[in-house]
């Protein structure tokens, strides 16, 4: 898969309260959740982004609560994929289970500026900047995770054998 968009950078340890504050968890409607995506980190975030844009986090992205509302809000807001130095484990599970593409790259964060456009090629395992053509490797996705993505998430994956 190819994901192309502008990059929005966030600090280390972006927790799920920063992605979707608990005060909005009285609904699971994706559209309502998306309207508040990243609100406590950047109140203007949803007004600035365009469909296809990419979130770039630091270490431990998605730490904190298990709320699947977090990847739902990101996906529904139109973000095509999330790249981070590392992901917290429940967020990592949730993203693969519900179909939000996520990638790990240790070097990208320091190497590019907010607003730069990049292209992620998941099958080639590369990230390329549009203007300068610089290329970065993404960490390989474990085969089981690739299978989850190919099947369209966990529920469709288990439906195959259930």
């Amino acid at each position: 898969m190819i994901y192309k968009g502008r990059v929005w950078k966030f600090r280390d340890n972006i927790d799920t309260d920063a992605i979707i504050p608990a005060r909005y968890l009285n609904t699971s409607d994706p559209k309502e959740l998306a309207a508040h995506c990243m609100e406590d980190s950047d109140p203007q975030f949803v007004n600035k982004i365009k469909t296809g844009d990419i979130i770039l986090g630091g270490e431990n992205f998605g730490c904190g609560s298990s709320r699947e509302h977090a990847p739902i809000a990101i996906k529904e807001a139109g973000i095509s994929c999330v790249i981070a130095k590392s992901f917290a484990r429940i967020f990592y599970r949730n993203a693969f289970n519900m179909g939000l593409p996520i990638f790990e790259s240790a070097e990208l964060w320091a190497a590019i500026k907010e607003g730069e456009e990049i292209t992620v090629d998941s099958s080639a395992g590369t990230i390329t900047t549009t203007t300068e053509g610089r290329t970065f490797r993404i960490n390989p996705i474990p085969p089981f995770m690739e299978q989850l993505i190919a099947d369209g998430g966990l529920m469709k994956h288990i439906a195959k054998k259930w």
Partner: protein
């Protein structure tokens, strides 16, 4: 090569004869938990996948504890949705209204989770049950849906970190201080994807309430699970509560650990996590003059009867400072009743406290204790992220019930030793 307790519990929930760290396995689930925030998505996913009947009505647990008593119409709708599902599926362990307690205090108290169990919960603090010697981990709603449908879930066998804690704890130091200290040592991702196993002479004497409180916060170091090998203290806690068989597992002498960390518990003073990370910890003596607007004593971390007793011991005959809102949240109806019978609630009321019904509300900034811009709370909860308890410009400081009670009286972050 031997196995850790975590590996043993995972392996016995598969048909495999051997497993190794990093391996992906499908394991059978003993208990699958959801709440009023996470269960609605799980139920929708369950139905979307064609689910008609949950795998076992005794093994799916639904607890409406987050935004209850219903804080608004949307929350009421979410609870109604889960209630209808629970009734339709004849879920044995469905809790709401006067039965509801904060899930991670409620499930051990009611004997629903037991040593040796494999527990998943669509709530990150599901790791609490590691205090009993169970493998317990937080997952998302889709994971819960898959488990409700198939009785199984995928896991990666984690590496284990071993923490050996020795020495007698100082006065007023409890499990909460130990875990805050450990998180400050290893960082908020110091145990990412790993199991944290707690052993040593201090641990072997540590009461169950403290073990549950420590296991509760391993997620704050990024861990998959925390675990206390079960012993005589575990036996005493579970034997009257259990209504089914349970198993005590222990780590083999030649089990392999990614890290072994030794800690002298006698050197640790009461700890305080400053905003905005649970790892941003200082000893209370180095807290400085931090004025507070609210003190919250409760939550799945520290809302047990033992916690309330400590707070009451400090608050007895004293008043919370005029500018401090003191909120006490007994974590379950049984704890509430026990506190009433022991006269603790009277002590709290005389000190000027608000006594809340059991609810997660205040801890996650849901309701019943929201902070305004610029306000500061000391809380016996588990997270102090930006905006966790309310306005993004409010601040949360994490500490033990003893420190929260002393701080309420003095109007600033303070050690109980200052009141002696």
């Amino acid at each position: 090569m031997g196995y850790t307790i975590t590996e043993k519990i995972l392996m016995t929930h598969t048909d495999l004869k051997e497993i190794q760290t990093g391996q992906l396995i499908n394991a059978r689930v003993d208990i699958a938990l959801g709440n009023d925030i996470t269960a609605p998505i799980a139920i929708k996913e369950f139905r979307k996948a064609g689910g008609k009947k949950i795998f076992d009505q005794n093994k799916v647990v639904l607890v409406l504890d987050h935004f209850t008593p219903n804080k608004d119409i949307n929350s009421a709708m979410q609870c109604k949705f889960v209630r209808e599902f629970a009734l339709e599926q004849k879920v044995t362990h469905f809790y709401e209204g006067g039965n509801v307690g904060i899930e991670h205090a409620l499930l051990p108290e009611q004997g629903i989770v037991l040593p040796g169990d494999l527990v998943i919960g669509a709530d990150s603090h599901t790791c609490t049950y590691g205090g009993l010697g169970a493998f317990a981990t937080g997952v998302g709603s889709t994971d819960l849906a898959a488990a409700m449908l198939t009785s199984e879930l995928w896991f990666k066998v984690p590496q284990s970190m071993k923490f050996i804690i020795s020495g007698n704890l100082q006065k007023w130091v409890c499990g909460k201080d130990l875990i805050l200290y450990i998180i400050s040592r290893i960082g908020v991702d110091g145990a990412l994807y790993k199991a944290m196993e707690f052993t040593g002479e201090t641990i072997s004497k540590l009461p169950m309430a403290d073990r549950l409180s420590m296991a509760n916060m391993v997620i704050e170091a990024g861990a998959k699970n925390g675990i206390f090998p079960p012993d005589a203290i575990t036996k005493e806690y579970v034997e009257k509560k259990a209504k089914r068989k349970y198993t005590f597992y222990s780590s083999d002498a030649d089990a392999v650990y990614s890290d072994v960390i030794e800690i002298d518990g006698s050197k640790i003073e009461p700890q305080v996590a400053f905003p905005h990370l649970p790892s941003n910890v200082r000893g209370v003596s180095a807290a400085g003059n931090v004025k507070i607007d609210q003190s919250l004593i409760g939550s799945c971390t520290n809302g047990r009867i033992e916690d309330l007793r400590i707070a009451a011991q400090i608050l007895r005959g004293k008043k919370a400072a005029a500018e401090v809102r003191l909120i006490v949240v007994p974590a379950t109806p049984a704890i509430y009743k026990q506190a009433l019978q022991e006269g603790l609630l009277e002590i709290f009321m005389d000190s000027g406290a608000i006594i809340s019904p059991p609810s997660c509300g205040a801890c996650l900034g849901g309701h019943m204790g929201i902070l305004a811009a610029g306000e500061r709370a000391i809380a016996t909860t588990n997270r102090n992220f930006v905006g966790r308890m309310g306005h993004p410009q409010s601040e949360v400081y994490l500490a033990s019930p003893a420190v929260a009670a002393a701080s309420a009286i003095l109007g600033r972050i303070a050690s109980p030793a200052e009141l002696a």
